[in-house]
């Protein structure tokens, strides 16, 4: 009785607490995400250069400058290269690892923990580790090749402009394959046992079982992994910043987020940097909005 009265007394105050805290979250995200994006667009339309802010709106000058900037196109090409090579290779390797682990492997969780390990490391850490791997004079890969008598294959790796981007891609596949594996493995495990047994009764086994029954049923996982990797291929920053800083030869591994950072914070071309950021934002949204629409439409 007593308790009931107390809770009724604080009912109005009580309602406000939750709504107040929720409102804080909405306002914070509203300000730092939505106002931030709008503000960034405004900066991109201005002529702000140097450390003193200028909101003198000059229109699309910066966007026109973008179209004549070879560094912008080099960066965009490298982002596209990530999407075209890094994404499918990671998906393929992830699926392969998931299938291997699906063979009733002993100590499965140990293998899973190890394969996922690189993904849980900071890009700064993996960037440092791979700088050591690729170091041409004393690094891991070249000295290993020497030890096993394959000196022919020694290379400049990240110091060679023609190879650097592929080195970046290989390291990123190394870091993300475990993550793709995890998504695929969860997809495979969510298929009802009866479906697989029915297919086995029909004589499907091994490779055929995966090709005909299991892979077609993990479309949703594939889609999720695909979108997340595509978004990463656009957003990647930390790893390349540490590994190559966008070089060698100036822009061999330059990507849009890196160009944006350099233009804005190193050269204080705030308006131009914001323009690159706006383009990057639009590219990411072109992938994310259809994904969110198809995922949450029914809920």
């Amino acid at each position: 009785m007593k308790r009931k009265r107390i809770s009724r007394k604080i009912f109005t105050k009580d309602r406000i607490i939750i709504q107040f805290i929720f409102l804080i979250s909405v306002l914070l995200v509203g300000y730092f995400v939505y106002i931030g994006i709008g503000w960034n667009v405004v900066v991109s339309l201005s002529d702000w250069e140097g450390l003193v802010p200028s909101y003198n709106i000059v229109g699309f000058d910066q966007y026109i400058k973008l179209l004549g900037d070879p560094i912008f196109f080099t960066s965009l090409m490298n982002n596209i290269l990530l999407m075209l090579i890094f994404v499918p290779c990671t998906l393929f390797l992830g699926l392969f690892l998931a299938i291997l682990l699906d063979q009733k492997v002993r100590k499965e969780s140990v293998f899973r923990t190890i394969y996922l390990l690189p993904f849980t490391l900071s890009f700064v850490v993996t960037g440092f580790l791979w700088r050591w791997m690729y170091n041409p004079s004393m690094g891991v890969i070249n000295t290993l090749l020497e030890t096993i008598g394959l000196e022919l294959l020694k290379s400049g790796w990240i110091t060679d402009p023609n190879m650097a981007m592929f080195c970046v891609i290989i390291s990123l596949i190394w870091q993300f394959a475990g993550y793709a594996m995890l998504i695929f493995l969860a997809g495979i495990r969510s298929i009802p046992e009866s479906h697989i047994m029915a297919a086995e009764v029909d004589g499907a086994s091994g490779f055929q079982l995966y090709k005909r029954v299991i892979i077609p049923q993990i479309k949703a996982s594939t889609f999720t992994a695909f979108v997340i990797l595509m978004v990463f291929a656009l957003k990647a920053f930390d790893f390349i910043y540490i590994l190559t800083g966008g070089g060698p030869a100036g822009w061999a591994t330059e990507i849009l987020p890196l160009t944006m950072y350099k233009e804005t914070f190193a050269m204080t071309h705030f308006a131009y940097g914001s323009t690159i950021a706006t383009v990057l934002f639009l590219l990411v949204m072109a992938i994310v909005i259809p994904y969110l629409y198809s995922t949450y439409r029914r809920k």
Partner: protein
């Protein structure tokens, strides 16, 4: 039968091959962190040190100590705050029906995917004008705000599974939303709180971009930025570079090895990185 066994052997050879490839960079890093400068020249990176030394670790600890403390402070506080706010948001969006709640949810979780470059200039300007630039508080606020979207998603996907009948029963007993949250939702939330906090701790600890643009000098500098600076400070001194890497990665590595299964749960709930 024999053929089957042959297949199993191939399977394990492949699995172990991938384990070696996965661990190779880490192995080289750890071995190098314990080498003297002479060892650096006379042993290959994959060989263990001939005379192991902790000198690189001691030297880099002097530089990394303050940044590691900073990282530990803002990571812990921002983890707690973003989980708490995410929990309230997840609760509001699933159990307190209001008009347009779905739109608000979608509006919140877009924050997971945006490239942070698109908000970086306004963020830095805001932090400068609020007097939070180059402070640990600024990093706490930033990581809390950008953690809210993913935490909301994690908690919402868990709270959807709590039956509404439980909430309605409490309502007829006269309990308000706060009482329901404290007496019913919170006691059931241990799992999502563990998942979200392990996930957030790892994410915030691993961050580099925000630390890079929001700190200058050592007062608020995160360990990730301090490590990046070692690159220029110790050119070609790979034992020191790897020792610094080891210091920075150790806390996140320990969390992963002990609480990895919760982190995996976090990744499964539509998680992202980068």
């Amino acid at each position: 039968m024999r053929f089957l066994r042959f297949k199993r052997v191939i399977l394990y050879i492949l699995l172990i091959f991938f384990v070696i490839v996965t661990l190779l960079p880490l192995w080289a890093g750890i071995m190098t962190a314990f080498k003297t400068e002479a060892d650096l020249i006379y042993t290959t990176p994959l060989e263990p040190p001939s005379s192991p030394t902790t000198e690189p670790l001691e030297k880099t600890f002097i530089i990394m100590q303050r940044p590691l403390q900073n990282s530990l402070i803002f990571t812990s506080v921002a983890t707690i705050l973003s989980c708490f706010l995410g929990s309230i948001a997840g609760y509001t969006l699933t159990k307190i029906k209001f008009k347009g709640s779905n739109t608000v949810f979608l509006g919140l979780i877009i924050g997971i995917f945006i490239p942070y470059q698109a908000v970086l200039v306004p963020l830095v300007m805001t932090m400068v004008s609020w007097g939070l630039y180059n402070t640990v508080w600024g990093l706490i606020l930033t990581h809390t705000v950008y953690g809210i979207p993913i935490c909301t998603l994690l908690f919402r996907s868990f709270y959807v599974g709590i039956p509404d009948s439980l909430i309605n029963a409490a309502k007829t007993d006269g309990a308000g939303t706060w009482i329901i949250y404290r007496r019913i939702i919170l006691p059931l939330s241990l799992m999502p709180f563990v998942v979200a906090s392990v996930f957030q701790f790892t994410n915030i600890w691993n961050d580099f971009l925000f630390g890079l643009v929001l700190s200058r000098g050592t007062e608020a500098m995160p360990a990730s930025v301090a490590l990046a600076n070692l690159k220029g400070g110790f050119v070609a001194m790979w034992n020191l570079q790897m020792a610094g890497t080891l210091w920075y990665t150790l806390p996140a590595l320990i969390v992963y090895l002990i609480l990895g299964k919760y982190l995996i749960k976090g990744f499964m709930t539509g998680a992202v990185k980068g």
